[in-house]
Symmetry: C2
Subunit: 327 residues, 2 copies
Amino acid sequence: MATIYDVAKKAGVGVGTVSRVLNANVHVSPQTRERVLLAIEELDYQPHAVARSLATRRTNSIGVLVPFFTRHFFIEVLRGIQDVAHRTDQGIFLYNVQKHDQKETYLARIPVERRVDGLIVITLRIRDGHAAKFQKGKLPVILVDSYHPILPSLVVDNAYGAKLATEHLLGLGHQKIAFLNGLMRYHASRARKDGFEEAYSQSGLQPDPKLVVETEFDRSGGKQGMAFLWERGARPTAIFAASDLQAIGAIEFLKTKGVRVPEDMAIVGYDDIEMAELLGLTTIRQPMYTMGAEAAERLLGGLEPPPTTEGPRVYRPELVIRESTGC
Amino acid sequence: MATIYDVAKKAGVGVGTVSRVLNANVHVSPQTRERVLLAIEELDYQPHAVARSLATRRTNSIGVLVPFFTRHFFIEVLRGIQDVAHRTDQGIFLYNVQKHDQKETYLARIPVERRVDGLIVITLRIRDGHAAKFQKGKLPVILVDSYHPILPSLVVDNAYGAKLATEHLLGLGHQKIAFLNGLMRYHASRARKDGFEEAYSQSGLQPDPKLVVETEFDRSGGKQGMAFLWERGARPTAIFAASDLQAIGAIEFLKTKGVRVPEDMAIVGYDDIEMAELLGLTTIRQPMYTMGAEAAERLLGGLEPPPTTEGPRVYRPELVIRESTGC
DNA sequence: TTGAAAGCGATACCAT
DNA sequence: ATGGTATCGCTTTCAA
């Protein structure tokens, strides 16, 4: 494999000159540049990325720390990241977290290992200890769909999303709306609860606590949650589920009871996964691609100190109306 | 940031010794090892990955070149790769191809840039020129769901998959089976056509060419393909679609015609995407996770010269029977 | 067992 | 404008 020395020798110049040509440095005469370029061509030379990184102290790549369980969300965010990364000629280093301890080891290692110039953390919650280290350390970090007061964060307004969904249902004339929320240990669930209640109170109505249940965000969560409500005797006319998967699970359960959507029951999901469109599920869409792109842009653009006081960048989700709410 | 020199100084030893401790080299006395370990601890030292790579000429990471359009397939394969990569402490460098020219630039650059120790190419077809370069060059490559005679390849037996699907339908008594195939420029489509025909001929029947159509692998492809057959007057009793998305598109079209699945029409898809389970779609499942894991294992395990004569490793897909074929 | 020094392949400063 | 050389942070001989 040819090195910069081989090129220099072949072109009859010093390595410094070759480097200048490589880096589009102005201080090189057209003739020499030509000679160097020729030598590069003949040797089929390409600079060694690792050596270059060591010298420049830049790796030209960003790390993405991601939990695999958020497939759809992660894929979309990743698409956004990838687009701007590619545009700016940056590589993407993937740190996937499948088990909890992986997160810890990664978080401890990535900053010191310095294999990447910056890190985007998706969905994963960052503890104060790590946050402080990041802030002190020189590795820029940005959180997507996760929030920490001293780190730049991009979050979605969950309360607003829930409010949108609930208002939509209330606007349709529904008064008995079941709420299949996620578990309260997730911040998203708590925020969505607020949004749900706010929509109700603004309409002058009261939500029925008997129609609220908390389950896992997945399909069986929705199924079980709905079953639980049903057994309990609840007979809502509409459902707001905190995830599309929960909504789908609920629909599955309802089907066994002969309840049709949307004829007998209106339903709104959350996430706008691929299936939502297919099933005609009204849902809340989050700007995942945009968040990924903006995260990458901010990471690459400015490595300014994190704007601590600024608070997180908050994105507004939108309501996507489909057949499941009978329109 | 602490370097190995800081550690050496603090421990009162040479950098070589520190390096030996770091790399679990035997030639170091217990006492010195202790001292070094202590210094490392106190300085919170971690070796600089880039510098280490330059010295060892190993990056401890593998590249994954992937087209984003094969989302589900790619995600599953990636999960397999990630599992073994993590186990062997390797990083994953993601090269995503969204536009065609990206593939070319990546393929040209990755080998010389040497940012990774090996490369896994997913689904993308490799031209002879690149293949030859890879074979000559020192960067090990392995193809998943793609085949090139001089490169190690992991492929799925598409003919077999199609045969399984068709046999299933024939076994159910269907004689007029529509085949929504992919475009013939894809190898997969050609192989599946073979499998489709083989199943027929083994059963002593003849497929009706009027029931075969080639479309894109996506949902609208299925919709349009089915519409095309329908307009043409075709009235099959069953459908074999070359992708789940095509199957779903076909179902959507059929719904507009009042044709119910599976009552009026049996249907088999291909891929076993998430939605397939949800919709109760009988389909063909490919061992994606396994292929990813094996690809990574082979890449990391042996960097032996690619077994040219060996031919590709062929995986057998399996039939997953669900409600859409009325069982 | 250990320390010193020579790479690894680039960049960047300092002379010229 | 250009060449020479120190430097980046580590590994790995080579002596001692």
